[in-house]
Symmetry: C2
Amino acid sequence: MAPGRSRAPNAGLQVAAGPGIFRGMNLREMKIAVVGSGAVGCYYGGMLAHAGCDVRFLMRADLAAVRERGLTIHTQGRTVAVPRVTAYGTPAEIGPVDLVIIALKATANAALEELLPPLLGANTALLTLQNGLGNEEFLAARWGAERVMGALCFVCLNRTAPGVIEHFDAGSISIGEFRRPASARARAVAEAFAGAGVESRAVENLVTERWRKLLWNIPFNGLSIAAGATVDVVLADDGLRKLARDLIAESLDAARRLGHEIPDEFADWQIERSYSMGAYQPSSMLDWQAGRPVEIEAIFGEPWRQGAGAGAVLPRVEMLYQLLKKITA
Amino acid sequence: MAPGRSRAPNAGLQVAAGPGIFRGMNLREMKIAVVGSGAVGCYYGGMLAHAGCDVRFLMRADLAAVRERGLTIHTQGRTVAVPRVTAYGTPAEIGPVDLVIIALKATANAALEELLPPLLGANTALLTLQNGLGNEEFLAARWGAERVMGALCFVCLNRTAPGVIEHFDAGSISIGEFRRPASARARAVAEAFAGAGVESRAVENLVTERWRKLLWNIPFNGLSIAAGATVDVVLADDGLRKLARDLIAESLDAARRLGHEIPDEFADWQIERSYSMGAYQPSSMLDWQAGRPVEIEAIFGEPWRQGAGAGAVLPRVEMLYQLLKKITA
C-alpha cells in the first residue's frame, strides 16, 4: 500500500481512528470472514486467501468439498489454487473478525440476523458486495452505520462445482463507505484486494457509484427477464434499444434528483459500451433461469421507490419492477 | 327484422343503395362466406347456418371432418347441431357472395390477398370479426372502403375438436360501418345475427367501440403474457392492478385525442367489471400458450402508433408493445 494514501483522513470513523488492521498496514493480521460463499464470495475471498490473508469462509452446501479440496479459481487462462481453506459451517466457529465480507444474495438478507452477530467485535467492519440499493441501509440499521462499507463488483463469474469458480471477465471492485467519503479503512481494504491481484479502488461516493451501475443493470438485467433478451438482442431491436435508453433516462433523472452528479454522456456510454458484450446474459437472467431468487427489490424496487420519492417520473422503471416482481415470484 | 329499422338511411353506400340482400329483407337469399373457420368463424357462421342462412365455409384443416359431421356448438347447456355444412377448400369453389365474414387472426391478413378476390362481386360486403385496430383499413385499402364493415365479438369460445365449438360465455356482436355511421346494411346484418339467436346490435361509431374494447384488451391481454397473470391475479396484486389502471388511463387519453368520446368512469368500470371474471385467460394468453400467433400489432402496436401520432404520451403502452413483440416473436 502506498504510505501516502494510507494516511488520508478517514472521516472520523471510530474503527479507523483506533488501533488495528485498518490503520496498521499488516494485512496478514486482518481476520476476514466471508458470508455467502457462492461465486462472488469464493472468488474475492479466495483471491485474498491466496495472497495470504486470514480468510474464514462460512459455507453450507460446499463445506465438506472445500475443506477437502480447497478452492480453485480458473481465471483467464491460469488457475489460482487455494488448497487449504479455512471453512466453517456456523458463524460461532469463526467468532469475531476484523472484516466481514457479505456476498449473500440480497434476497437472503434476513439470514444475516443470525449469521452476523457471532462475527462482530467492537470494531468489526462490514463490507457488502451485494447488488443494488438498500443493503448498506439494512446492515446500518441493525449493526451501526459506522461499521458499514459497500463495494461494486464488476465481474463475470460462475460456480461450476463446489469450490470451483470460473472467472470470465473483468473482476474489479470499487469500495466505499456508507454515506461517507472514502476512508483510510476503505483504502486499506482496496489495497488488500490490489495486493491479491484484484483491480480495486476506493470511491468517494458509494451511492453515486451504485446508481452509475444501476443505469446499466436496470435496463439490461430487467429486459433479460421481462423480454427474455440477452444484451445483443436488446441492442439489435429498435424497440427494445429505445426502451433501454428510456429506462436509463428515467433512472438518470432519479439519480440526479437524489443528488448524484452523473453526466448526460454516461447514459449514451452505458448503451455504447454494451455492444462489445455480445450475447451476454446478465446475472438476473442466470439467476432466474436457474430458479434462484432474483434481486428485484435491490435492483428495481428500491431505485424506483427512492427516485419516485425524490419526485422523478419513472413509469417504465415502475412497470419493469411490477412485471419482474410477478414473473420471478 | 323490424321494417322501420330496415329503412334507415344507409349513408349513401353504393352497395346498400342498389338492389340486393342489404335492402331486401329476405335473409335466406343472402350468400355468406366465412373465411377463417376457427372457433369464432365456426360459432358465428354456424349460428347463421343453423338459422337457415346460406353460409359457405372456407376451411383448411377441418374440411373433411366438417363435411362429414357438420358443426356442433355446445352452448351453455344446450347443443346447436348443424349436421349439413357447406364447406370448401378453396375460395374459387365458393365464388362471389353477398357478404364475406372474416374471422382469420389479424396475424394472417396477408393470406386474404389470395383468399378474398374469388369471393367478391360488385356489391359484396366485407365484415371483419377481427380484434383491435387496422383490420378495416387493411380491407379498405385493397378492396374499397365502401365494402367494409367491422364487428366486435364479446364471446368466450374454444374449438375442442374439428367442427366442435365450446361456447362458454356471452356471445354478443356489435356491428358497424368503416368510418361511417351504422347503415341499413349494418342493421340488416345485426338482424340476421339476432334472428340466429346471437345478441347483436349495430353501432354508430365502430372505432369508438374498438377503443372501448381495447381499454380492456390492452391491460388484461397484455399483462396475461408480459406478467403471466390471469385477470384475477392482475386484480389481486396492488402493483399490477395499478399498472392495469395506468395502461387504461394512457389508452383512454389516446382514444380521446383521436376523437372518441369515452367518459372517465368507463376506465374504472373496465377494472370493476373484471372482478367477476375470476381466473379468466384472455385470448392472447391462450394463443401464446398454444404457440399460435398473437395479435400484437392489432391490439398493441396500432393503438400505440395511432395514439402517439395524435400526441398522447403512452410510455407503458409502448413498453408493453415492445416487450410483447419480443416475447411472442
